[in-house]
Subunit: 154 residues, 2 copies
């Protein structure tokens, strides 16, 4: 057991943060708990890392992206994407060929095997999201979206 700070040393106000009410901290805990929960699902099933899954998710939505574009859309850095792609291509989940107009650029797509995994994992992820949203009522869901939009404004 521990005592909470009582008397502050004479004349000094330390004003410690209360982490449990500190917004950045709360977001961090919440976000990690959620993402890790989802990741556990597909890691167990397919030995797929979170970065790999994110790459697959954007390739499912946008075919023929380059590695750079994948990085932009996933907010991951290009090295992380390069490594994720190396594994995905190796595992036969993503196909990569060279763009004919620019030999530096790759053209990426999910393979059949990639789509098959996608079609299992995407619904699982959605179900997890739904389980979260089920904790909220209709009003709260609307406010949440609005608040996230505002917080993400630059």
């Amino acid at each position: 057991m521990s005592r909470q700070r009582k008397a502050t040393p004479p004349g000094i106000q330390h004003a410690p943060l209360e982490l449990e009410h500190f917004l950045p901290y709360r977001l961090s805990i919440l976000s990690n708990t959620i993402s890790q929960g989802i990741a556990d699902d597909y890691q167990r099933l397919y030995d797929l890392s979170m970065t790999e899954w994110r790459v697959m998710a954007v390739l499912a939505r946008f075919e023929g992206l380059s590695a750079r574009e994948v990085a932009d859309r996933t907010a991951m850095d290009k090295v992380a994407v390069s490594r994720a792609l190396a594994r995905l291509v190796e595992a036969g989940r993503v196909s990569r060929h060279m763009a004919d107009n620019d030999k530096r650029r790759s053209v990426l797509d999910l393979t059949e095997a990639g789509w098959a995994i996608h079609d299992v994992v995407a619904p699982m992820a959605r179900a997890r999201e739904q389980a979260l949203l089920d904790k909220l009522d209709e009003d709260e869901r609307r406010w949440l979206v609005r608040i996230l939009d505002k917080l993400q404004e630059r």
Copy 2:
């Protein structure tokens, strides 16, 4: 440039996730952006990692905690806490001595130097949080707290 998926292969609905509207993903991006922003401040100033700062923050609020208790309160695992403490003690920012009733247990406190850092970093962190909250109006702030409470319910 890339085209979005148009015709789905005959008879198959792939239903890709839209990451930019997917709650876990949005939270993850937002949270990382915010935490990293704050961390940049104190990393530059004091060569302090995020885990180290979190340990200091709980020790500021609760004196004499054990490493285990710090781990519980920060939602970090005990290895991470052990390492953070090793550095903090080494740097003279935290004092550690043995509990006299239990020789396994440590008793941790910020030193003068630790408090000095705390008293600079805590206001910076608070200012960052405030900058975030300033993007919201009074209603939105109230809803946000309420929503976070609900989402964190187990």
